[in-house]
Symmetry: C2
Subunit: 380 residues, 2 copies
């Protein structure tokens, strides 16, 4: 294997490939990047248990003198290419599994792993794609991943459910204390499906898509999903099992609705929750600060908290609109409310209430595709 | 105690005071901030074992209705004031040790600690100061603190030695593997002294001085040093013991000198050291990557490293100037060299050599006040 390539082109591709490198792995070979120079192209592949990423480089700067295969130590290789300021870099396989890297001013000899040890990555067949814009995918990820469960006690909840029915894609995440659901109408018709994608894969996909405005093609198999964009194949395993039916959780109508200026509400909740006691919710390790929201007789809203150790806090907010004549006192996790508010982009947001032990729904008129639900915490 | 004050003025002072708050402490009262409203001024004090900070606020926005003293929980108090967007804030001592904080939109009640439990902080008497500009102090800190020891095996080396002789202040830091020494000529005459300041205190002082261009007055006692600037008293304890005499370590002249473009040398060393084996130097926990520097027959300089596991790297640098006819091979810690180079601001830097087992001296012609020394590591 002998080839030379523009440093920036290689680095862009390595940054993409790095999304598939494992942080820790019981299989040392997977810490390597598989490089294959063919007649005209250079293939780079990385893989861990959940994700596999492959890029094909056919840049005009690429000059392949000799075909070949090699597995380079991933982290070191990327670090070197990142630091090199040579425009062109030449790679040659020399001696017994050594890669010679030649730059303008220096040379590096990297010990290689045996490419025969690298597992074959089976990518889904590139037939019958579903096409979605990168922008829409990034938005879905932004609106759902935060609400997935971090506990392995119910593994299916660590992923985001994508289900297609009547050409509408519904994406749902829940950790069973809150839920976020967003919908996307598709232009083309496609067979119905319901799959659950690991949240970590979606996080990596989000980073990999970056600012890209391209179309992304999705290819399915029984247990894998392949995203194809630019010169990249980005494949994730799917989570096994049936995703719970959450449709009955979201109320059809709400007796009480309060509209807020979003930033004003976020700031008040942030301040008040500084003093919140940190209660453990169920088996989750994370702590949640609990706040109380009160719809008062005078139509003002009070956000408050009581903490026996540190002290108390209360703030008053004047809602932008109020669709109720009743009063209400309800408690919930400040963090869940803040998460829900921060994934809305509208200036005005709505909180819908059905009673002090019924879920709170958070949404905005301008983002009708997105519905979020938070379970209340009983106040004493 | 009842007073009101402009939020931004209070926050600036709290940010200053936060430098004296302990990260962890066996004395819970020290997690609090002591506030004292007198007839005209508000005093804020924080203290941990090493540092005490006091600010006096006599801002025109300050309105004191009732004198008094209180100890507020430091972290919570600062967090609240930071998040509040009210212009004016009113503080009132109510009930049994509760501080009521009133802002435009809300109110907070903080449980207080007993101010009788707060230890009396003895500040050095404000007589006979030595005056140095904030800029000069920041420069001294930048040029020395990084070279102090992080090991407690020889506590005096965890500080920076400030010694004054013939109106020249010499500041020295060493961890016994490298040394950094910088000098400052003083305008006024002052009695000779030699004191050693804990590096953590200097780090905090550096942050506290921020971009300030004021004069800083230094006041001494046997075991404390007080820095006074703006409305701030910033006091640190001094380290006990005799600082080692390091003057004989720095050679008077050097047989071999090589001049480099600093950025070029930094980048080469960074790249090559990516592949360096990480050797433990003595009892220190940190790992050091070892590189080799060779002055070759053809007057070029080679930076290289050999790593049995990962591979080898070498780069060639053409020096900007070369004052030697001899060749040399010498090994040392890449991190120490990078630390030394990064605290120089000149474009051209010099490395002085006296042989492969003699210290390397790093300096620049434009920054004659600064001398740095690195011990070599024997290469096999």
């Amino acid at each position: 294997m002998i080839f030379s390539i523009d440093r920036d082109v290689l680095l862009d591709n390595l940054n993409m490939i790095s999304h598939g490198l494992p942080v820790r792995t019981p299989m040392p070979i997977l810490t390597g990047i598989l490089m294959e120079a063919t007649d005209n192209d250079l293939y780079l592949t990385s893989s861990n248990v959940d994700l596999s990423v492959e890029t094909v480089i056919s840049d005009k700067s690429l000059e392949i003198k000799e075909k070949g295969k090699a597995v380079v130590p991933g982290k070191f290789f990327i670090d070197i290419i990142r630091k090199v300021n040579s425009k062109k870099i030449t790679f040659s396989l020399i001696e017994d599994r050594i890669l010679l890297i030649e730059t303008d001013k220096g040379e590096y000899k990297l010990h290689l792993m045996d490419y025969m040890d690298y597992p074959t990555v089976e990518f889904v067949v590139l037939e019958n794609p579903l096409t979605v814009s990168a922008e829409a995918l990034r938005k879905i990820i932004h609106q759902t991943v935060f609400a997935t469960s971090t506990s392995e006690s119910n593994p299916i909840l660590t992923g985001v459910n994508f289900n297609l029915k009547n050409n509408t894609l519904t994406c749902i995440a829940t950790d069973s204390y809150r839920l976020s659901q967003t919908k996307l109408a598709l232009n083309d018709s496609y067979n119905d499906f319901s799959i659950t994608i690991p949240s970590k894969s979606l996080d990596e996909l989000n980073k990999a898509l970056d600012q890209s405005n391209e179309e992304v093609s999705l290819y399915f198999s029984t247990n894998k999903l392949l995203f194809k964009f630019k010169n990249v194949l980005f494949q994730t395993r799917l989570l096994d099992g049936q995703y719970p039916n959450t449709s009955r959780l979201i109320p059809e109508s709400y007796p009480m609705t309060v509209f807020f200026n979003k930033d004003e509400l976020i700031e008040s909740v942030e301040r008040v929750s500084l003093l919140s006691p940190h209660d453990k919710v169920s088996d989750r390790e994370t702590n949640y600060s609990v706040i109380k929201l009160e719809i008062k007789n005078d139509k003002s809203i009070e956000i408050s908290t009581t903490n026996a150790q540190i002290g108390d806090a209360k703030e008053e907010i004047i809602p932008t609109r109020l669709d109720t004549t009743e009063t209400l006192k309800i408690g919930f996790s400040a963090r869940y409310l803040l998460d829900a508010l921060r994934c809305l982009s509208s200036t005005e947001v709505a909180l819908h209430f059905s009673g002090e032990i019924r879920p709170v729904v958070v949404d905005s008129e301008k983002e009708s595709e997105l519905t979020q639900l938070i379970l209340p915490i009983r106040m004493d």
